[in-house]
Symmetry: D2
Subunit: 341 residues, 4 copies
Amino acid sequence: MSAPDQPGAPVRFGLIGTGRIGQVHAGSIARLPDAVLTHVCDPLVDGARKVAAAHEGARVSADAAEVFADERVDAVIVASPTATHVDLLAAALEAGKPVLCEKPIDLDLSRVDALRERAAEAPVPVALGFNRRFDPHFAEARGRVAAGEIGRLEHLQITSRDPAPAPAEYLRSSGGIFRDMTIHDFDTARFFVPDIVSVQASGGNVFSEEIAGIGDWDSVAVIMRGRGGEFITITNSRHSAYGYDQRLEVFGSEGLIEVPNVGDTTVRLHTAAAVESRRPYQNFIFERYAEAYLLELAEFIRLVRGEESRSPGFEDGRAALVLALAAEESARTGRTVDVDL
Amino acid sequence: MSAPDQPGAPVRFGLIGTGRIGQVHAGSIARLPDAVLTHVCDPLVDGARKVAAAHEGARVSADAAEVFADERVDAVIVASPTATHVDLLAAALEAGKPVLCEKPIDLDLSRVDALRERAAEAPVPVALGFNRRFDPHFAEARGRVAAGEIGRLEHLQITSRDPAPAPAEYLRSSGGIFRDMTIHDFDTARFFVPDIVSVQASGGNVFSEEIAGIGDWDSVAVIMRGRGGEFITITNSRHSAYGYDQRLEVFGSEGLIEVPNVGDTTVRLHTAAAVESRRPYQNFIFERYAEAYLLELAEFIRLVRGEESRSPGFEDGRAALVLALAAEESARTGRTVDVDL
Amino acid sequence: MSAPDQPGAPVRFGLIGTGRIGQVHAGSIARLPDAVLTHVCDPLVDGARKVAAAHEGARVSADAAEVFADERVDAVIVASPTATHVDLLAAALEAGKPVLCEKPIDLDLSRVDALRERAAEAPVPVALGFNRRFDPHFAEARGRVAAGEIGRLEHLQITSRDPAPAPAEYLRSSGGIFRDMTIHDFDTARFFVPDIVSVQASGGNVFSEEIAGIGDWDSVAVIMRGRGGEFITITNSRHSAYGYDQRLEVFGSEGLIEVPNVGDTTVRLHTAAAVESRRPYQNFIFERYAEAYLLELAEFIRLVRGEESRSPGFEDGRAALVLALAAEESARTGRTVDVDL
Amino acid sequence: MSAPDQPGAPVRFGLIGTGRIGQVHAGSIARLPDAVLTHVCDPLVDGARKVAAAHEGARVSADAAEVFADERVDAVIVASPTATHVDLLAAALEAGKPVLCEKPIDLDLSRVDALRERAAEAPVPVALGFNRRFDPHFAEARGRVAAGEIGRLEHLQITSRDPAPAPAEYLRSSGGIFRDMTIHDFDTARFFVPDIVSVQASGGNVFSEEIAGIGDWDSVAVIMRGRGGEFITITNSRHSAYGYDQRLEVFGSEGLIEVPNVGDTTVRLHTAAAVESRRPYQNFIFERYAEAYLLELAEFIRLVRGEESRSPGFEDGRAALVLALAAEESARTGRTVDVDL
């Protein structure tokens, strides 16, 4: 971890995993002047090579152990499949390298808990890839709530609907909608109300027999309560005919802060039939949250450098999983599930 | 019931109760060319006299029995306190007079059920005062859903927040937030998804210790499911810093129909600080739903005349109460409550 | 003029002209508790009879002289064809009856000027039917400008587009687009900037050869300047594919006040193609300005009663005509035309 | 011009002028994978050095002649003061290097015309820096008009208001508001209606005595007509209390396409006073048109490579100047000025 010792030197990154999300991180590194990609790792070494090609001097390997052993790597990004996260996090802690790990830490809480103490005591920071905290729209809302513009927070409403479900093959091993999709919303909930104490949820299949067939739900609704009595409501659907729907409403004692959807342009067409905005919402994660991914990495660099940082950490990753499991239990049993984060 | 026999003759109304809502109905009668107010009744006979003064030839009485006995009354509007509704409905049925009764029928389901069979078998119609079904904004949404514009309905979201709580004295006997306030939203839910099968709810006090003190909640969140799996979510607050908040979102397989709030004018001010609409939302029930009250009465006149009518009836009043009681039970026990309407 | 002497007694109206606009005024009288229609006059006496039928005790005549001679008439509304306005105004002044006259006073300035002195010296008030001043949206904008919310007014932009042109037969005798259609916008301009000193205009035919054939333009653009240097821009079209377009923007030293169009409901549909509001704008004058007509009459009643009133008067009618004629001259010659109102 | 001969090789740029706009172009080159900055020139050689520092291997010079002589330069960007444009364009044509020149070509039409024939006959392309054509919002509007979504274009309305005037020192030599500020809007007008035949304009000072003192106007309004009769209206102000105001409305036979302002986020605050969007508009040129600058350069690269390109050229630069001069004449004389582009 030499970079932070030389003030101003760019942070040298090792990237593990070069799928879609790994590529996004590589792109962010290219755009940030104080980041450089020096090592790219993927068992599918061709993917690693492709990503490395755009980064002068980047080393390529197929084995993550080489990343952790590489002295030219100041910090690691874990963008490999979920099942590998816990082991790679453990390796990063052992190697003393700061790590940004994609969510979720794991689908299994016991595996997460097995790492919990080590993460808490490690001298290097662990950041979790909850990128929505860095979305400029959500972050502005959060900042204005913190500034007291709506007084005391009373109710947070999260609407989150994907354009279309992932392929059945993916869904079969995703851990179910709560751990796969709602997990982002659980973290967004905690971005506003960190200490949540109870969860009620309902799951259903309103459009997809295929998803029902693999034992998952295509839609869910959740009511949670904060320790201060705050209400949090979440609704999810794995499809949305009108595009990626990502909205917040934060109700407070003095007002409401609303984050509507984000469009590509402001153009509106008025005809005899209607007033309309075409292609209303940005298509999906990588378009809607493009800037969030960049800002997430910038924030992680501050964390690596020991500066003040808003990066969510290991406990945030664990808390989102606890809420997902509680929601699943509530949806199965019909009972409110109490949690203690 | 002579009016319907003379096609074109205005329906002659007897009005029982001349509080705020009774006055609204009297005003609607004055504006509708095919309605006339011929009898006004209130034990506080001064109130009855005041209302009658603006209606040429209207008789005044202090005893509802006189209204039911009055041959010049074709139909009755019951706008008296909730506790009197069941008896007045029974009297109307016995007198053979069509009746429009304010909601709720009663706070006690057993008293409602005691009247259920008689209402079903009566030769004259009973309409319930769920005026929101007639709001032009909600009604347009309902019509467009029925026309298939969003495909199959998957999720209905209702946001309903009052500007400020009623006085504690009123709240003490209101039957609680579910039977007093959410009851409107339960009917709106059934306007879109008539057959609801389960209810989950959470109640809390996020702003008012006074309301907590009388054993009621100031805010609630509800998840319901329709027989076809449809999701319905409702959130209520007894206060809203930014004005009366009455919104719908109807998500379907092909799109989303949204009913935002309604403002007085379209004027917007742009300054260095902000783009803003002043006095954003219409203040409260009688302003926001002014047109709905008028259209509700027009629809009841069609019902009285034996024409096709969209007026909600006795069973709708009962169903809303069943849902309110189920929500209360769920909020108290933390369990999902199944219902069979 | 006995009514004003008896405080509280309704003003008794004589209505001359029972075409579309005359019927609107009759409807407003019916809705205002302090107005009553006692005399209806039209050479097409059947029209007068029809209107009178809904007003108990209203007398019918075919000759306007009978209205002016009627002692039961406190004030007169002139809603007859433009060519009759000057004579009827003169008769009203002679009879000592306050009069509300539809715009324009006349197409010919010399005829207006011939009446000017008499109107100024008359003991009874003359009001002109520039109803837009009473539109709640425009009036709120005007009030907020007057309250200083945007500082000093720098530029007023008026967009005014009719859904479709009137029949060619009407257009042939309308006096041309400036005196027939833009005249409303000239008055709206003076509502915000009373003292206008110069006019530049351009007229063209961008969609209708028929209108070109009768020597009129189907579209115009106007730049005017106020005595304080203020800019006023007006654009008109005799058609609008997307509905009646009636908008204002008022730019000031401290901000912008905008009056967008007015829709019937707030409902929005979101689909894969677009976010849209159906039936976006209220169809035409009688729908868009329904409330303005009512408020215009209420304001005239205040004028009749000698109370403070915002009703525009004879000089406002004359000024709008002067601006229309100046615009026409500018459009024909290509030169800026100076005016002194 | 070797780059186009080697397909895929990045275009090597020489940049002349390293003020604010030159720095923006250098930044765009850094972000475009198929562009590289190889020569940076500014008589203030420190500025050139600073810009070059971020571009590996970029040569620095103080004399533009060295750029034109540099074999490693495939294309030149002229971002120096207006007075130098004509000579630098001439030098680029002589050196056979494609050139992107900032607007305006010159303040003096005769100097532009002296170069006109040479520019037309040159084997290398000249592009003009009218970046608004590449703004995604404006470009979408243009594309949808071209696709026939509003039928035949009837009227284009351009609203363009700067947040605050440039310093008086700059304004003194800017050539006046029409050649300095409206020139962008003249090009935007021609983006939609290329062949404009007449110009009416009015100039005034509604807020700044300082600007009046140097003989310039602080606000203008313009009416132009296209050869097909189309109306074009432009309003400008050198200040805008509520932020940078850049809007279009395009009215056609079948509808209206509107381009409202662009905000930073979608966040809205609702309080008892208002519904508001804070920091509503992007601050000024370099923020509002950030993406346009990037796309402008990408389009110029296509032009350099001989591919199909939408880059505006020399004649577009000349036409905008002709319109600016016509507007100035009209504003001074009060007469409509005919033009033949």
